[in-house]
């Protein structure tokens, strides 16, 4: 079975590193980890992910801005997005869902639960 491609965008490099390790360890995913959403469109078009895991609070380009950029991109708008953020307010969640994200995860989350959410989101494609 071909590996699913997941792009993880988070400015916390430690988080990035460990989530990448955890997801790759399952043998089911190929991961591209980005510590900034600045060049997200060109990365999406090169890597062509099946799913994007996106943080919200990031310097320069935040997660919500990144969603807007993706929604304007021909390929970008077809890729399901899961927000994975430490923000827990319903207002933040609402903002993200309005941009069309398929799920919103609040940190901390265990690997197992994360994988369940990823598998569910992959069915959106």
């Amino acid at each position: 079975m071909e590996k699913k491609k997941i792009m993880v965008v988070d400015d916390e490099v430690d988080f990035l590193k460990i989530v990448k390790l955890n997801l790759e360890e399952t043998g089911k995913y190929e991961i591209l980890a980005l510590s900034s959403a600045k060049d997200i469109i060109s990365h999406v078009n090169n890597f062509r992910p099946d799913l994007i895991l996106l943080d919200i609070v990031m310097p320069v380009v935040g997660g919500i801005d990144a969603c807007e950029m993706l929604n304007k991109d021909l390929l970008g708008k077809t890729i399901p997005i899961i927000i994975i953020s430490a923000l827990d307010k319903s207002r933040d969640k609402l903002k993200a869902y309005k941009k069309g994200v398929v799920d919103y995860i609040v940190k901390p989350i265990e690997k197992e639960s994360l994988i369940i959410k990823i598998e569910k989101a992959l069915q959106f494609k």
Binding site: E12, D14, F15, L87, D88, K107, P108, E110, K111, E112
Partner: protein, 391 residues
């Protein structure tokens, strides 16, 4: 506008002269006269005079006595002393005691008296006006101060809730890393070393504990503003019941009064209260038990066995209140814990199950509604939580 003047004078000739002079000077001046200093003093204190004209030398007394006693009683009237010619020195002493002015009984009397009376009345009015303005200023200032304090309070709670949300974000990020790291180690470390797995379990539990506390803190800081609407308590209670997971062996017995009046409450916040209380009840009956839900309206005085005196006193005697009771047949609360179950972070549960904020939040919300919450409990027998709300 008529001005009432009291003349205290024992010499009838002088009374006549003075009355004539004043009547000629202004139609508005009404003069009453008393010759007896005792009666005079009584009229000064209890009467509704606007000005006192007092002869210096009186039988068995003096203007000085009357002036002093008037001041003692806290009466503030323009007080003018009439002296005989040649005793100006005495008049000066009287001025020191707080008289408005003095007038000498000589050939200038007719001419000077009206001027002095008019002047004293004017000064007195100006003084009253100034006092009134000062009082108004003080009231305005107090109001301003009160509003300012209210604004500061609102600002503070908003700042607190902003800070709690900010702190939550900053703490949840590292917690996210720790738990994923623990997950990674679980998969790669040798399965043989059971210590490692126990320690990883501890790490994960600690993360959940910290996360619980942070979430509770955010809830707590948010639980400030109320969105009050007339609501049906039974509906809110039933909604909350749906949100709780129960063991199959808990029997739920609903004794909800029909046709209850609506209570003015914040639905979301009350749901939060009931959810916390129902969750506590469910957690106290891990295996089996009965959960009674009751709602009714009753006079506060008739709830003596259920609500503490101090709490009952927060209502008017005879006031009808809306009561919700949640009773369980669970493990109960030991006597020594009953006083502190509402304290923040007090919990007897394992770190994953409770942050010890459930009852704190519940009490906070009920307080905000100007209601009361009380707990009756016996160890090993069960617990009843009583919430009384205004209707």
């Amino acid at each position: 506008m008529s001005v009432k003047i009291l003349l205290i004078e024992d010499n009838p000739d002088h009374v006549l002269i003075t009355k004539d002079v004043l009547a000629l000077a202004s139609k508005d001046w009404q003069v009453d006269s008393l010759g007896d200093p005792k009666q005079g003093l009584k009229a000064v204190i209890d009467g509704d005079y606007d000005l006192v004209l007092c002869d210096y030398r009186l039988p068995g007394s003096s203007a000085l006595d009357i002036l002093k006693k008037m001041k003692e009683k806290g009466r503030d009237l323009p007080f003018i002393v009439v002296t005989s010619a040649g005793s100006e020195k005495v008049a000066v002493d009287i001025m020191k005691e707080g008289a408005y002015d003095y007038v000498v009984k000589d050939e200038t009397y007719e001419e000077v008296l009206p001027l002095i009376v008019g002047n004293a009345l004017e000064r007195h009015n100006a003084k009253k006006e100034k006092e009134r303005a000062e009082k108004e200023l003080k009231i305005a200032y107090a109001k301003l101060k009160e509003t300012q304090e209210m604004l500061i309070q609102v600002e503070k709670t908003e700042a607190l809730s902003r800070m709690a949300a900010g702190v939550a974000h900053e703490v949840k990020n590292p917690l996210g890393i720790i738990i994923q790291a623990a997950n990674y180690l679980e998969t790669v470390l040798s399965q043989k070393d059971t210590n490692v797995f126990e320690i990883l379990g501890t790490i994960k539990n600690s993360v959940k504990r910290a996360d619980n506390i942070i979430n509770g803190l955010v809830d707590f800081s948010r639980a400030r503003e109320l969105n009050l609407k007339p609501e049906e308590i039974n509906v809110i209670l039933k909604d909350s019941l749906v949100l709780i997971e129960y063991s199959k062996n808990i029997e739920i017995i609903e004794e909800l009064s029909e046709n209850l009046p609506r209570a003015l409450v914040d639905k979301e916040k009350m749901r939060q209260v009931f959810t916390n209380l129902l969750l506590n009840a469910a957690q106290s009956m891990a295996k089996r038990g009965k959960l009674f839900l009751r709602t009714y309206v009753k006079e506060i005085d008739k709830l003596a066995g259920k609500i503490e005196k101090g709490n009952r006193d927060r209502f008017v005697p005879g006031e009808k209140v809306m009561v919700t009771e949640i009773e369980d047949t669970g493990i109960g609360i030991p006597e020594e814990d009953l006083r502190i179950v509402f304290d923040p972070f007090f919990t007897t549960r394992g770190p994953r199950d409770g942050a010890g904020l459930g009852l704190t939040i519940a009490k906070n919300i009920i307080d905000m509604h100007k209601g009361v919450i009380d707990i009756k409990s016996r160890k090993d027998e069960g617990t009843t939580v009583i919430v009384a709300l205004k209707i």
